[in-house]
Symmetry: C2
Subunit: 381 residues, 2 copies
């Protein structure tokens, strides 16, 4: 046994040495990617180059195979390393439109507003933030008078009210908003301002450390050529731009945001009502269930007002939720009547509707579920 | 520009060299961990040693900090590497009870059954599989007559029926099942067999490449000392054993499994009924929404019978689902009445019920959401 312990200790020392080398490699790699970031900032090359990323990963997967190392392991590690270098190595971006003298972000002290302020600053623009207390001050008035771009980044319930008050912008100023609904703010912007107008929805939370690989929905308002530079600028920040009509966007959001947040809310209400022991629930959960429970839990650590605003925003969505409620009741009746045959036939019908997507999800999600297995938070009981 | 391109090409070559070194490091590391795995198999040391893992990660985080490398990045990489080495380097496990001459797994050709067959084989046990066609054969009868352990691993709807037919097992034989409900199978086993009985629920799907770090629920039946070796054996496979009564287990499962699968089913029915364009939904989704949609999609690529069996299994669960349905309707009425104040007050009440857990979820889930951002499948539109 002592012999075994000695051998084990020696092997562990060897492993530790290799892991030390790994950290050194990371430090060396970061130095190189910082330089790449600098060149990209100088030349305005996009930060995220999908083809380079693909080629890099493909070569290392090949090498891994030859070396008897798992190609999937290699790819996962490289992706994680690249995510880090994207976010830490980019302190400067190219300024796409040096003719812009003044950017104003209303609500720029808020979580998502701050992300935009930071990105504009790193790109060499002059950015000022206007908050509630600044309203009506002489300095604020003169700030707006010289603004080339005004972005409304206030909470959803204040968006329209703030937009409606922007009657004094220069005719050439681009007016934009970043609210998670698009039809109403876009209409309000077009009404109050005669110049260029564009609606934006950055599809990420304030926790995202930047815009790299994130989807930003762009809803054209008026004079697209006047804000083309802004779209290009977001591309240099790494954004994946998706053009859409405000209506199409809002319809999709009803499914994605409203349904999801409301269902999560009800799940929380249900748990509170049933009052199970949370600790014992998590003990019995596999990582993917814990992830789900965590997604419910996290909602209730956030602003009730924000979620009320999102959920109550569009009464047209209530009918969608009502139909979900009805379908839930219908499916439940199948259970209460013990009608397994009807349940299975429904199941098959839905499966046909999903078609290949269902099989694709099954295959693709395997790796994802394994990743959840890695996660220490989801492991803790 | 050409100058920039040259510098960029040189930097990229440097990055490629570092990534090549990374793959070589992985190959060298795998050789060492294979040897560690062999020593552990010889001595019966547990595969997963939490303290060693903690210490290893803590030292490398420290080193990373000193080297200006992100400690979180370092930890994520090491965890991913360790997951791989746990699963690929363990081809042998110590045999905890060499006195066991015959293990029989009924339904051992099924997905989860196979995992057990593999683990017993890697631990040096003689394992035979009995499938439907083997039933009643002379060879099967003599197999059961010399069995020291019989594990029922058939689909949930056949479990009780199969158990009830096991009237002929030797009195010293341990009888176990691995169904996802525990009360009914345990009762049936205690009734049909006078020897040692234990109910098991391995809380992972057949995609998991082993038992390392996975939770296995153990429900004591009769004569625990007779199957203590089995519990110890699962520990050497890396399992995280959780003892529970069958009732407590089944109650938790009603929340975790039944609620979840049924809600997912209804969500699928809702999507089919509303018939949105799936492609355009995913375009508008951030990675975490796509994960959710993928979890819905994957259900419908699986066996309708399996999910029907799980959901219909216990009529006591229907009342729980009915109460969820009612709460959904009540919350929806708040929306339809435009009662934001009541919604917010409900929200706060639920938040108090979740207590610290909610804040913990919010903090812990940030890293997880970033991990979803890494995932290529969730990035694809």
């Amino acid at each position: 046994m002592t012999e075994h312990n000695k051998r084990l200790a020696a092997l562990r020392e060897g492993i530790d040495e290799i892991d030390k080398e790994l950290v050194s490699l990371l430090a060396r790699r970061a130095k190189l990617t910082t330089q790449v970031g600098q060149i990209k900032a100088e030349t305005g090359m996009p930060v995220y180059v999908p083809d380079r990323e693909k080629a890099l990963i493909a070569s290392r997967r090949e090498q891994a195979k030859r070396a008897g190392v798992s190609p999937d392991l290699t790819e996962d590690l490289l992706r994680r390393i690249m995510r880090d270098s994207y976010h830490t190595q980019n302190n400067r971006y190219r300024c796409i439109n040096p003719d812009i003298n003044q950017v104003v972000i209303i609500g720029g002290a808020g979580a998502l507003g701050k992300v935009f302020v930071g990105l504009f600053e790193k790109s060499g623009y002059t950015v000022d933030v206007v908050e509630r207390d600044d309203w009506g001050k002489t300095s604020t008035t003169s700030l707006f008078a010289r603004a080339d771009l005004v972005i409304v980044a206030v909470p959803i319930n204040l968006t329209e009210q703030v937009i409606t008050s922007l009657t004094f912008l220069p005719g050439t100023c681009v007016l934009a908003d970043i609210t998670s609904v698009k039809s109403a703010p876009l209409k309000a912007m077009l009404k109050v301002h005669s110049g260029p107008v564009v609606g934006l929805h950055p599809m990420f939370g304030p926790d995202a450390p930047g815009m790299i690989k994130q989807v930003v929905v762009v809803c054209e308002g008026r004079s697209p050529q006047a804000y083309q530079w802004l779209v290009e600028q977001m591309k240099t920040w790494g954004a994946n731009i998706h053009f859409s009509s405000a209506e199409e966007h809002d319809e999709a959001m009803a499914f994605i945001q409203v349904m999801r947040h409301f269902n999560t809310f009800v799940y929380g209400a249900h748990l509170q009502g049933e009052d199970p022991d949370l600790d014992s629930l998590t003990v019995f959960s596999s990582p993917i269930y814990r992830l789900e429970l965590a997604m419910v839990g996290r909602l209730f650590a956030q602003s009730p007002q924000l979620y009320a605003d999102i959920i109550f925003n569009n009464p047209a969505n209530f009918a969608l939720l009502r139909r979900f409620h009805q379908r839930f009741g219908e499916a439940l009746s199948l259970l209460e009547n013990g009608d397994k045959t009807a349940f299975i036939s429904e199941f098959n019908k839905i499966g046909s509707w999903f078609g290949d997507y269902a099989r694709k999800c099954l295959v693709d999600s395997k790796q994802l579920l394994l990743k959840a297995d890695d996660d220490e938070m989801l492991r803790k009981s």
